[in-house]
C-alpha cells in the first residue's frame, strides 16, 4: 500500500538538552515531547496549517519540515482553537486535539513546535 511508511511528527523540545538533541537529530529520552500524526490526521488539519502558513509566512507541507517558533506558539494556539470551535467534525477534532496538546506544551515551556511532515 502506498505511503504505509509515511509518518508525521510534532516535536517540542522541553529544555536546552531537548533543543540540542533535536538539532542533532538525536531521539531524546524525556527531553523532547513527541506526538505522531498519521497521514490522514495531517490531511484533516490542512486548514489549520494553511492559516498558520498565511499568518507566519511559513510553508507547512507534507514531506517538509517547518517550525512554529516559541514566540508564535501562543498565536498559533489561538488560531487552532478558533478552528476547533468552528469545525465540529470528529476526524478533525481528534487530530486537532493532538496538535493542541503539543502546542500547549510549547507555549507552557516557551519552546518551538517542530513539524516534521
Amino acid at each position: 500500500m502506498a505511503l504505509e511508511w509515511k509518518k508525521c511528527f510534532l516535536s517540542v523540545p522541553l529544555d536546552a538538552q531537548g533543543l540540542s538533541d533535536y538539532d542533532n537529530w538525536s531521539d531524546s529520552n524525556g527531553h523532547i515531547y513527541t506526538v505522531e500524526l498519521s497521514v490522514s490526521e495531517y490531511e484533516a488539519l490542512i486548514e489549520v496549517f494553511t492559516k498558520w502558513n498565511a499568518e507566519f509566512g511559513i510553508l507547512i507541507d507534507i514531506f517538509e519540515e517547518e517550525t512554529i517558533t516559541a514566540n508564535n506558539a501562543k498565536r498559533a494556539l489561538e488560531i487552532l482553537q478558533q478552528q476547533m470551535d468552528f469545525n465540529q467534525r470528529t476526524k478533525f477534532l481528534t487530530a486537532a486535539e493532538k496538535l493542541r496538546i503539543a502546542l500547549a506544551k510549547a507555549v507552557e515551556v516557551h519552546m518551538p513546535l517542530h513539524l516534521d511532515f
Binding site: 502506498a2 505511503l3 516535536s11 531521539d27 505522531e36 507534507i62 519540515e65
Partner: protein, 140 residues
Amino acid sequence: MDTKTDYSSNVSAMKQIADIDAGLAKELEKGAERARRFHSNWQSVNINEVVEKFAPGAVAYQKGGKIIFESSDHTIAIIADAAGGYLRIQDLTSKTRRALYLTLDGKNAHNVTIDGKTRGRTTEEYEIATHFRIKKREEM
C-alpha cells in the same frame, strides 16, 4: 516512457484537476512558493538519472501536491513536487522519528565533511542539501 515523461504527465494531470479542486490547488501552491523562495539555492538534477540511481523502474504515484517514485525494495522514495519542480530523496530504512533525506550521492544529509572534518549541517544547510531542482527537458 522515461521518468521525466512520467513526472510531467502526472504534473499536467494534477494541474488540470487543480483547476476545479481548490484543495489540490492550495497544495500545489505550497510547492510553487517553496521553489520561488529557495530554488536559487538548489542544485539542478536530471530526474531520469536520480530515479535510475535510487529507484530504477519505479512508477509514479501521487499524494497531495507530490509525485512519488518508490524503489521496488521500499528503501528509498523520491518525492517530487508537482508545482515547485523539485525533488527530495528519502531513506525509508531510517529508524529516526524524523524523515531522513539524502544527498545526491546517497549519504545522510545531516552531516557534511569539509577538508576532512565532519560537522552537523544547520537547518538551512540541510534544506539546501536535500532539495534538488528538476531540470526541464531541454536542459537534460
